[in-house]
């Protein structure tokens, strides 16, 4: 028996029907064709599925689709304003802070959430905040630098 859910995704009203056991990640990817969030593990350990729910950073693989009734969801698809990249996106490109890029959507969402909470994080704070986002390719160095650069630019 499907469950009807009304929610907002990246500022737009969205309605969907899902099964009780479907995760928000399943709904985003399989029902709404928002494939920016990735499934790296489905157990909350890799961060590739990162989204925000009412502004709070969350693993969409650990949230049920049915739980987001009336909430506001932010996904990587909503981070750029039209064709204008968010500073974190631009700095990831400038710093070559991606190799394969499969972790990148999660990194973008998580880093943006950090900088909204804490505009001037230390390297250590960035590293601990990002500890839930696995990247196997880069060794994190360039990702951390990209976040530092984005933070500096956003502070102006």
């Amino acid at each position: 028996m499907g469950i009807h859910v009304s929610t907002k995704i990246n500022g737009d009203d969205v309605e969907f029907v899902c099964d009780a056991e479907e995760t928000l990640l399943d709904v985003l990817r399989d029902r709404l064709n928002l494939t920016g969030a990735k499934e790296g593990c489905a157990t909350g350990d890799c961060g590739a599925c990162s989204v925000t729910i009412d502004g709070r950073l969350t693993c969409s693989c650990l949230t049920l689709g049915a739980e987001v009734e009336g909430r506001e969801i932010g996904t990587v698809e909503g981070v750029a304003k039209g064709n204008e990249l968010h500073p974190i996106q631009q700095k990831i490109l400038d710093n070559a802070a991606l190799q394969c890029g499969v972790c990148t959507p999660g990194i973008v969402v998580a880093a943006k959430a950090l900088l909204e909470k804490k505009p001037d994080p230390s390297e250590e704070e960035i590293r601990y905040w990002m500890a839930g986002n696995l990247c196997r390719c880069t060794g994190y160095d360039k990702i951390i630098r990209a976040i530092q650069d984005a933070a500096a630019e956003m502070r102006g």
């Binding site: 350990d45 890799c46 710093n95 070559a96 973008v108 986002n133 196997r136 390719c137 060794g139």
Partner: protein, 761 residues
């Protein structure tokens, strides 16, 4: 100054290195696929959907070793929503790809926990999973073995009753788990040990680790009723994938088109074939598109970890630091089928040293674990860990700086390598000198802190490659390559084409084409892409330059020999110099319709001359004596890139390789219980390094040009994972006065070693 004359298109210049002033190569432009990747638009293996697609799921063996007595799928087939079920009965015997066939769908036996036994395609994942539960499999459980040394014993459970050890003369007549033996070296090691003042001999063990790509294997397949197939998925080599899949499914190669999606990491682990033929077979049987993706649990249990190892190393040296002999015997298990990279392990073990007497023996062993796959410099990190640990100990024993000790014995141009061929041009000494001069080598260390050094080697490969460049009417250029881009190679292809043609980087765009659009290309592996595909792009661009000169000659009505190409323009030369205004690539392209039609260049070859690659790593650690926890304080990667096309992505390869090595050294490990089952098949318990575990990773790019590439390029992808295991072990040894001979050096192991050392005092 880069310039060439209007040569005949077949003469594209030489493969030999030629010094030049680069304009685009060596800069760090943004990658062409970057925006798609930061916005979530890039489509990876699991991001493709076809109308009406079914979901495919695999039933896997819960047992590490068992006879497959019977499989009854009737109840699963009867379940509403189930459209196809496949088992071993759907795949014909296949001699050419026998092991892959047995691995993708078990035949008479299951050989490891997670071995595929059947697969289902259904209208939803829930129905597919329900159907798997309705398949009745009768197993006849057999004893199992997962440890390499155990598997080599005469009374070990035998996996394959037709496995007779290769490389032993005469070949044994009884079956064993020892797939092969190999030996490399020269000189007389016994005589060499006679000359030694000090000899150190030790045994080492390393655990199996997983490549750990964040994207699980995924694909979508469709097969039409007249037997044409299309396959989309994440792979390091879609041409090889096509050939193997077509063969296993019983299709002509020309009837299967494979498109490589964006790939979310591979490191060797996606040079493989797992789901794809099964997906095609389900699509064929059901008549509908089928999508399959592994769960993370399946990735760990059924896709390629690297080998675990058990090794003996013995090295002797004189008091003044000359190595007189080196001996290594390495035993690698690579899972249930042939292929453990013991040969590479034996070949790489002593490659950093010029030795008069050296011998390395490799044993390739099978066990009840998943079929191993290549992992970044396959086989090298383990044997180099063992050798570099003993080298470090020898340097300490004679009170010599470890870099000086290595410099004294380092392989140089003209030396005979420990694995046979003579080295032609190599940058090992340059990396050692750069390490010695690096500020990180001088920083004072505090209590419980230590410093480690290690060097490492990888061959680098070339291989079958082809590439096409098309000049568009507006003067932009499209590159088609056949090697999946796993770490930014499309950017470097564009740079090399722009360099040759003399046009800006942003006027060139590279794509990875499907298998119907180019000839066969070997897989993205062996650090070969920037070297091989890059050189194909360079030669295709040179062919275009020849044609552009011909077109300009036609437009000017002068002989083609009187046209030269300089900085993106055709220029009249010789007797005609100054007679005409130069023609840009865009102008010639615009007029192409009147001078003979489209302009394209192509190059196909079997690339040879990939330059060998060496690196040296420096690492400072702090060992907590209370907990055994190792903290990486500073890490520096120094590696010879030949010529860095895009230095940022070269640094990225160095950093990524080093951090995978850090994981291997400190945390990562396939843990098996006595029941032969993997106990940590998830990211929580198989812990990859996370951002908070690490410092920044410093890099130094050394450039000793590869004589076999016009720009001097060497592959850079793999060497970076070779030194870290030893460098960290050496650093830990320095910090805690311990010689750790087993990896990973997890806190409990270190703590145990600390306690043992205390008890011994």
């Amino acid at each position: 100054m880069a310039s060439s004359t209007g040569e005949a298109p077949e003469s594209k210049g030489t493969h030999q290195y030629q010094p030049r002033d680069f304009k685009v190569v060596g800069t760090t432009p943004l990658r062409p696929d970057g925006v798609d990747k930061v916005t979530g638009r890039a489509r990876f293996g699991a991001d493709m959907n076809l109308p009406g697609q079914l979901v495919g799921k695999v039933l896997r063996s819960p047992h590490p070793h068992a006879k497959l007595v019977s499989i009854d799928t009737s109840e699963a087939e009867a379940l509403p929503g189930v459209k196809a079920v496949v088992t071993r009965d759907d795949f014909a015997e296949n001699e050419a790809h026998h092991d892959i066939l047995c691995n993708i769908m078990a035949r008479d036996k299951v050989l490891y926990e997670g071995h595929a036994v059947a697969a289902v395609a259904a209208t939803s994942r829930a129905i597919a999973l329900k159907a798997l539960k309705k398949i009745k499999v009768v197993y006849d459980i057999l004893p199992h073995v997962t440890d390499v040394d155990e598997a080599m014993k005469a009374d070990a459970p035998i996996l394959h009753d037709d496995m007779f050890t290769h490389g032993v003369d005469p070949m044994p007549t009884t079956a064993s788990n020892i797939a092969g033996r190999c030996e490399f070296g020269h000189g007389d090691v016994d005589a060499g040990f006679e000359q030694a003042d000090i000899i150190i001999e030790r045994n080492f063990k390393t655990a199996a680790t997983h490549q750990g790509y964040i994207e699980p294997h995924a694909c979508v397949a469709t097969v039409t009723s007249d037997d044409y197939g299309e396959l989309w998925g994440c792979t390091q080599g879609h041409f090889v994938l096509r050939n193997v899949s077509a063969s296993l499914v019983g299709m002509d190669v020309s009837k299967l088109r494979v498109t490589a999606s964006e790939i979310g990491g591979g490191f060797g682990g996606k040079t493989t074939v797992f789901l794809e033929p099964v997906c095609l077979m389900l699509a064929k049987k059901s008549g509908k598109p089928v999508k399959m993706a592994m769960t993370r649990d399946e990735v760990f249990k059924a896709s390629g970890p690297t080998a675990s190892s058990s090794m003996d190393v013995k090295i002797g040296c004189t008091k003044d630091g000359r190595i007189t002999a080196g001996f290594a015997e390495v035993r690698y298990q690579g899972g249930a089928f042939r292929g453990a990279p013991a040969d590479f392990g034996a070949m790489c073990a002593f490659a950093c040293y010029a030795l008069e007497n050296v011998k390395a023996i490799g044993w390739e062993v099978v066990t009840n674990r998943p079929k191993g796959a290549a992992y970044r410099a396959p086989g090298a990190p383990m044997s180099v860990y063992a050798v570099e640990s003993v080298v470090d100990e020898l340097a300490k024993a004679i009170d010599m700086d470890p870099i000086d000790f290595r410099l004294k014995n380092a392989a140089r141009n003209g030396d005979k390598s420990s694995y046979g061929p003579k080295f032609e041009s190599l940058g090992l000494v340059e990396t050692l000198e750069a390490a010695k001069n690096h500020p990180n080598y001088q920083i004072p260390l505090g209590p419980n802190q230590g410093r480690g050094v290690a060097s490492g080697f990888w061959f680098n490969f070339g291989g079958e490659t082809c590439s096409t460049l098309n000049v568009n009417q507006d003067g932009t250029v499209a590159i088609s390559v056949g090697t999946p881009d796993i770490g930014g190679s499309r950017a470097s292809m564009c740079q090399m084409a722009a360099e040759e043609l003399g046009i800006p980087y942003d006027q060139v765009r590279a794509i990875v084409t499907d298998t119907s659009s180019l000839g066969f290309n070997d897989t993205t592996e062996g650090s070969r892409v920037t070297f091989s595909s890059g050189m194909a792009v360079i030669f295709a661009a040179r062919e275009i330059i020849g044609k552009l000169c011909e077109r300009a000659a036609m437009m000017w009505d002068i002989p083609v020999e009187a046209v030269k190409w300089e900085e993106g323009k055709a220029i009249p030369a010789g007797a005609n110099a100054g007679d005409f205004e130069p023609l840009t690539l865009a102008e010639i392209a615009d007029a192409a319709g009147g001078t003979g039609g489209p302009i394209a260049g192509h190059h196909e070859y079997n690339a040879d001359g990939a330059g060998v690659s060496f690196g040296t790593h420096l690492v400072d650690t702090e060992v907590d004596p209370e907990t055994g926890f190792v903290k990486i304080l500073r890490y520096t990667v120094i590696q010879d890139a030949g010529k860095a096309i895009h230095p940022s992505y070269v640094e990225g390869q160095f950093q990524g390789g080093a951090v995978q090595g850090i994981g291997w050294a400190l945390n990562e490990e396939y843990i098996y219980g006595d029941d032969g089952k993997l106990q940590n098949a998830g990211f929580l318990d198989y812990r990859l390094p996370v951002a908070s575990d690490l410092p920044m990773i410093d890099t130094v790019i050394v450039e000793v040009p590869n004589p076999g590439h016009p720009y001097g390029v060497r592959g850079v992808g793999e060497t970076g994972i070779v030194p870290p295991l030893a460098a960290i072990a050496n650093s830990v040894s320095d910090a805690a006065n311990l010689r750790m001979t087993e990896l990973p050096m997890s806190p409990p192991r270190i703590l145990k070693a600390i306690h043992q050392a205390e008890a011994a005092e």
